[in-house]
């Protein structure tokens, strides 16, 4: 309990750190909301026009004044108004979040369903050709940049088979589950591919570790069948690193998958932040990055708790 509280107490500190970094960094990048809107035509503005637009976008004050204002707003649960959407930042983020969450969950599901059995197989067939085959497949999976995979999938499906998930308007899960899954399954496979490969690799090596442990040998010598040893005794212990890896990877996925969202035209968090950066929508960048960082920390905390739950040898609070 105290461990949990101590971990939670750190959250605001890290979040403030994140917010300052993002606040300063985004303002150090040349260009602002005005050049983002007008492009080179911004050069036609008179100084008075520029001033009027700066006030309109709320970028007329020095950065620390802007930060103070923003922080004050934050304390009232107000993340500011996005300059491109003209809506409260939090509202936009919450609109985009379900997709990102669903995509992350789906990818993780694919990764675990494919990765864990593959890893176990590779471990139990360690010295054999088939085991090596699984490992090589996993390594290829891990080494394919996801934009290559996404483009190949889209091209093969559309040119070869004349099918493609519905691009454009995205249907949330609760409105049209079938269409929703149709839209998300390919991106999830794209993301899950490399993810599954890492799961395979880590579960293989964890499995090998466990199989060489004494108690497994003991179980085996006591006449427990090979299959029983693997599934009942070895796998549960080998799952610990798998949980850690999946958790961390899941935490990353909750931050959005910029490139995959871009290619599949999904309105997720990754594209939201990228577009916000490109359009110099300061409030949106700040809000979204903060939101992502917060989620990441929560997921990490949960991973640590799961870790403890899985392995009774580790005591809470011990450093």
């Amino acid at each position: 309990m105290t461990y949990l509280l101590r971990r939670l107490a750190v959250f605001p500190l890290v979040l403030i750190g994140v917010s300052i970094v993002v606040f300063v960094a985004i303002r150090m990048v040349p260009g602002d909301a005005i050049t983002a809107m007008l492009g080179t035509e911004a050069g036609l503005l008179t100084p008075a026009q520029r001033e009027a637009l700066s006030v309109y976008f709320g970028i007329d004050q020095p950065w620390f004044v802007q930060y103070g204002r923003w922080l004050a707003g934050l304390l009232h649960g107000n993340l500011g108004i996005s300059s491109t959407y003209g809506k409260p930042v939090l509202e936009i983020i919450l609109e985009r979040f379900p997709l990102t969450l669903e995509l992350a969950l789906l990818s993780m599901l694919i990764a675990l369903v494919v990765g864990v059995p593959a890893g176990v197989f590779a471990a139990t067939h360690n010295e054999k050709f088939s085991g090596l085959g699984v490992r090589v497949a996993a390594m290829i999976g891990q080494s394919t940049p996801n934009f290559v995979l996404a483009l190949l999938i889209i091209y093969t499906l559309s040119a070869g088979f004349g099918v493609l998930p519905a691009m454009g308007e995205f249907s949330p899960l609760w409105q049209d589950p079938l269409r929703n899954l149709g839209q998300l399954i390919l991106p999830a496979i794209t993301l899950g591919f490399a993810f599954a490969a890492s799961v395979t690799r880590i579960s293989r090596s964890a499995m090998l570790d466990v199989l060489s442990d004494d108690y497994v040998r003991t179980a085996r010598s006591k006449g427990v069948s090979a299959r029983g040893v693997i599934w009942r005794h070895a796998l549960p212990n080998a799952l610990i690193p798998v949980v850690t890896l999946s958790g961390i990877e899941f935490g990353y996925l909750l931050g959005g998958a910029v490139i995959v969202e871009q290619i599949y035209a999904l309105p997720g968090l990754g594209r939201l932040v990228l577009d916000a950066i490109l359009q110099r929508d300061y409030a949106l960048v700040q809000g979204a990055v903060l939101f992502i960082a917060f989620n990441f920390m929560i997921v990490n905390l949960l991973v640590d708790l799961a870790y403890v739950a899985l392995d009774p040898r580790i005591r809470l609070g011990e450093q």
Binding site: P30, L109, L164, L178, L235, Q262, A265, L278
Partner: protein, 512 residues
């Protein structure tokens, strides 16, 4: 607990396989095209809804469907009626009178009146508005509205190009009430063929037909625009018939469209031009001979052939077809490396020099390729170019400050050469600090062109202007490319125009 979890995990394994197959099954069903809704896609979304403030290509294309200016230009760049049915310059060219269409109505049902015109043209020049097009309307001294359908503009000096400037959606007429309420950018109330029902920035727009549109009935009941950031994905979506109409930027993707039996590629030469901007305020581009040497060393056709797969036409400074000179008549439009080398040594740079060229990533998509071809061509006369590709806004920032040796740019064109170039090539031009070159000849030619009302004399003035500009070579004009739209073959009635407008979508129909 662990074992429980494991068993659950394992028993779940068979299921997803089936689920996966089922889901992919749903993938296979192409979205049925609603008979009356046009499904459209583009890779870059509009950036805002205030017609007086927006300048981005996509924003203009969207807003042209929602708002109307007083007049429009057609596919041959002639001025045609929009909200105004007729217009007349006074003898001295200082008074411009418009008669409005009494049928013109806003999306909310209110009539478009002369008061709205007056309010709109008072809003644009107001510095508080921040309208980029302000510079085009500074000659407006006062506006009279003798009755609800008549507007008289009093100009401080004869200003022929103002009529073309008024054809731009940047000079759209918005309701006076919306201006007072300060809600022009938020509600998007115009008098155009479509009204905006929903805008989800960077994702999609939903437009529905304006039943009261003065221009008559539209061919479709609505348009749904999806933002698909990757153009390869747009092409894929068109192959599977999800998308019926699309805007394409990248010639590498556009040239794949004709290979599909069911698709049609529309391409039209546009007024925008690809250019290598030299910065004549920086050494050694300060030297006329160095700039000319660069012009002679560049093979424009080869830049076009390589970077754009030959999709375009080599151009001089003027891109308006009715005014443009045959490029082969212009200075050094035929590559001449010997002459270039000689010019370099005459300028004292026989050994060449080093410089940096900047470009924006993906804007245009051919920028990096153009820079690389030019780099290799200029290497032949000893000019060592360093390429720096930047994110668009970073580039714009450097460009506006004139902070570059050379820049690869795709600059917008206008239907009138004065409106197009006064910002760069007049002494008072707002972008003189970017162009960094002006001489008396250019300035006086521009002033003459502005006030001359006789079309033949005007053409002669601008021909001289173009010849002179190519000779002093502050910039190296390269080529004009095409604006591409791709469509399913059952879409009828789209007329591409050099301004890139999608206004004719108002008359497009979907054949069954």
């Amino acid at each position: 607990m662990v074992q429980h979890l494991t068993r659950k995990l394992l028993s779940g394994m068979a299921l997803p396989g089936i689920a996966l197959a089922a889901m992919l099954g749903t993938v296979a069903v192409p979205v049925q095209a609603n008979a009356a809704t046009l499904h459209m896609a583009w890779s870059q979304d509009a950036t805002g809804l205030d017609p007086h403030k927006q300048t981005a290509f996509s924003s203009l294309r969207l807003l042209e469907l929602i708002y109307e200016p007083l007049v429009r230009v057609d596919a041959s760049l002639q001025i045609v009626p929009a909200i105004a049915t007729s217009w007349q310059f006074s003898q001295d060219g200082k008074e411009l009178t418009f008669k409005l269409d009494p049928k013109a109505k806003y999306h909310n049902g209110a009539a478009v009146t002369s008061a709205d015109v007056k309010a709109s043209f008072e809003r644009i020049p107001d510095e508080k508005t921040g309208a980029a097009a302000r510079a085009n309307f500074l000659s407006i001294a006062s506006i009279d509205t003798p009755d609800p359908v008549t507007v008289v503009f009093h100009l401080s000096q004869p200003d022929v190009p103002i009529l073309t400037a008024m054809s731009d959606v940047n000079a759209a007429i918005v309701p006076a009430g919306e201006i007072t309420a300060g809600s022009v950018g938020t509600k998007a109330i115009g008098s155009g063929p479509f009204k905006l029902d929903k805008w989800d920035p960077n994702a999609r727009e939903v437009l529905s037909a304006n039943k009261d549109w003065a221009g008559g009935a539209t061919g479709v009941d609505g348009i749904e625009i999806s933002v698909l950031p990757d153009e390869t994905a747009i092409l894929a979506a068109m192959r599977t018939k999800q998308i019926e109409f699309a805007l394409l930027n990248d010639p590498l993707v556009a040239t794949l469209v004709p290979q599909e039996a069911s698709l049609q590629l529309n391409r039209v030469p546009v007024l925008a031009y690809h250019v290598l901007q030299l910065n004549p305020s920086r050494k050694p581009m300060t030297e006329l001979k160095v700039r000319q040497a660069i012009s002679c060393a560049i093979d424009r056709q080869e830049v076009l052939d390589t970077a754009s797969l030959g999709e375009g036409k080599v151009t001089g400074p003027l891109t308006i077809p009715s005014l443009a000179t045959d490029p082969s008549q212009l200075f050094c439009y035929k590559r001449d490396v010997e002459k270039a080398k000689q010019l370099m040594s005459e300028a004292g740079y026989a050994d060449g020099f080093s410089a940096t060229v900047i470009g924006a990533t993906g804007e245009p998509p051919t920028a990096a390729a153009e820079a690389q071809v030019i780099q290799s061509q200029l290497a032949e006369i000893g000019v060592k170019l360093d390429i720096k590709m930047m994110e668009l806004n970073v580039y714009v920032d450097a460009w506006l400050k004139g902070d570059f040796d050379m820049a690869i740019a795709l600059n917008g064109g206008r239907a009138d050469p004065y409106t197009m170039y006064n910002r760069y090539w007049t002494k008072a031009g707002n972008l003189q600090k970017v162009a960094n070159y002006i001489d008396d000849t250019l300035d006086s030619q521009m002033q003459q062109g502005r006030t001359e009302t006789d079309p033949a004399k005007r053409k002669a003035i601008f021909a001289e202007f173009e010849k002179h500009l190519a000779e002093v070579s502050p910039w190296i004009w390269l080529y004009t490319s095409y604006s591409y739209t791709a469509q399913q073959k059952n879409i009828a009635g789209f007329v591409p125009t050099p301004t890139g407008t999608l206004f004719s979508l108002s008359k497009v129909t979907i054949q069954q």
